[in-house]
Amino acid sequence: MNWWEGFRIARRALWVNRLRSFLTMLGIVVGVASVIAMVALGSGAKAQVEEQIRSFGANVLVIEPIAGQSGGGARLGTLTESDARGIAGLPPVRAAAPSVRGRAQIVRGNRNWSTTVNGTTVDYFVVRDWPLSAGRQFSSKEESSADKVVLIGHTVAQELFQGGNPIGAEVRILNAPFQVIGVLAAKGQSGAGTNQDDVVFVPISTAKRRLFGGGDDGDRQSVAYILAKIVSEEKVGPAVAQIQALLRQHHRLGSDRDSDFIIINPSEAMALRNATTTTFAWLLASIASVSLLVGGISIMNIMLVSVTERTREVGIRLAIGARRKDIRTQFLMEAITLCLLGGLIGLVLGAGIAIAAGRLAGWPIFIGLNAPVLAIAFSASVGLLFGWYPASRAARLEPMEALRHE
């Protein structure tokens, strides 16, 4: 007898006792539902981290000054444009961009919008893999002569121009007239939940001289932060060490002094922030394993009852020519069918729970092809594992003894 015949017999036996079958598979239903919800949450969280890292730019380090360390509590601290040039020259660094930052009102006609103004170099957009959706980048002449040109983020473009063409238009930043030369492609939310497209960029020279310019020459050199793009993920570690050494040397820090800067790896920080969903996924994993165990035991229990109830049937089947393995196949198929059915219901339930949890808690959810594969794999193995003993017991019955059973 093949597995298909076994399935046909199992289907009928399960249908005859449908209430009992349904109750028996509840454990499997809960177990598989938890597995599915867990995987949906887990892979959703993973996909979100990956998306955040991708959107920030992969293999990017942020170097920030630690204010007050070098005395005087200067607003911008100790990092300078020459530090950025030094970092850019290190072998594992593909590009480095110094930046200053401030908030300002941007006015166009009778509309105005308060946003972040970033002063930086063309390298910034290389570091962050951030293309333009229209227009062009700063030219080197514009950078060196501190021209009043601006690149605007997607959100700013929408707020000020509402679908009109911003390229070539004039906007006023802190009352100075700027020409819009480009619009950046939309990036969406950052890992911290802020809108990355609510921003404008001007050349760093322009920002310092025409917008947030300080007085003395020291302030002219200093920057708020430096972004560095590392050539590959494996080189991030060595790059951190090299930047550390380089900056300590630049800043003439003796071995007895703490660094006056900090090197941040945002990918790590983003991965860490998803710990909540990971915790929840582990909770589901423990529910899943307990339910699958309990479900498996109740399957075994019911299968033992079923074998006892049908001892005479086994006797009849043996008398007319069933081999032991035919009997085992029959009962094993019954257990597996029961579990697969539970697994199928669990799949639907688990996906439903995951989607609901995603909606309510705002967690990212991802349900892929691995969900049905997992549901089938888990429930079939529970059926096989816990159905084996009852099925073998049925297969060991002696024909005559079984036939005499009432």
């Binding site: 009849i316 008398a319 007319i320």
Partner: protein, 247 residues
């Protein structure tokens, strides 16, 4: 020779509480015979039948079935022989209640590995032989006792076995229906099938061509029936009950 029993014994239980159900039973069985095993209740008829049918093993003695020693038969090999060489008919029909008449008849073919379409054809053919083609889709509980037993006979026939074993096939039936079953068995015998039937009823036994008598597990008689009752199409001595339209 289809079967040779040499000094078959079967006892149940351990040392102190041992029951000897069968003691030194020896006989030969030729192809085409119709043997009735007779004796009072508890005399060991079913025990002998189960050993012949390879459902049970003798405690001592040996059985040669179709030229094969059965002592060292593996369970699977025994199952194979039961499947295609032997057909069983039981007193209590032993049909599967969750399967239709046709599916019950198909069952031996399932275990013989016959494909579904051919299975259905052959099962329908067997049902036709016992005159129940019109009841193919009925559940066993929707059928009378006589009809259920005919379904069981169709199931025993479907693999075209050489030997049919019937343990009290009429035991649960009224005499009229019982006679119909006997006529059917005789008809099958006339077609060349060897039949061993257990009964404690002298009238039923008189349909056989040979009677083996058991008492307390011992064979006390083994002889041909001189005034055999024949009911089939070639019947010489009809006893007034209707012959139903099979065959």
């Amino acid at each position: 020779m289809l079967l040779k029993a040499i000094s078959l014994s079967r006892s149940y239980g351990h040392d102190s509480t041992t029951t000897v159900a069968l003691r030194d039973a020896s006989f030969d069985l030729m192809d085409g015979e119709f043997v009735a095993i007779m004796g009072p209740s508890g005399s060991g008829k079913s025990t002998l039948m189960n050993i012949i049918g390879l459902l049970d093993r003798p405690t001592s003695g040996s059985l040669i079935f179709a030229g094969e020693h059965t002592a060292n038969l593996s369970p699977d090999h025994a199952a194979r022989l039961r499947n295609c060489r032997i057909g069983f008919v039981f007193q209590s029909y032993n049909l599967l209640g969750r399967n239709t008449a046709l599916e019950n008849v198909e069952l031996p073919l399932v275990y013989a590995g016959v494909r579904r379409r051919e299975r259905e054809l052959r099962a329908a053919e067997a049902l036709d032989k016992v005159g129940l083609s019109d009841k193919a889709q009925r559940w066993p509980l929707q059928l009378s006792g006589g009809e259920q037993q005919r379904i069981a006979i169709a199931r025993a026939l479907v693999t075209d076995p050489a030997l049919i074993l019937a343990d009290e096939p009429t035991g649960a039936l009224d005499s009229r229906t019982g006679n119909e079953i006997m006529a059917l068995l005789q008809h099958l015998n006339e077609q060349g099938r060897t039949i061993i039937m257990v009964t404690h009823d002298e009238i039923v036994g008189s349909h056989a061509s040979r009677i083996i008598r058991l008492q307390d597990g011992t064979i006390i008689g083994d002889q041909d029936v001189p005034d055999r009752v024949l009911t089939g199409s070639t019947g010489r001595k009809l006893r007034g009950w209707g012959v139903t339209g099979f065959g």
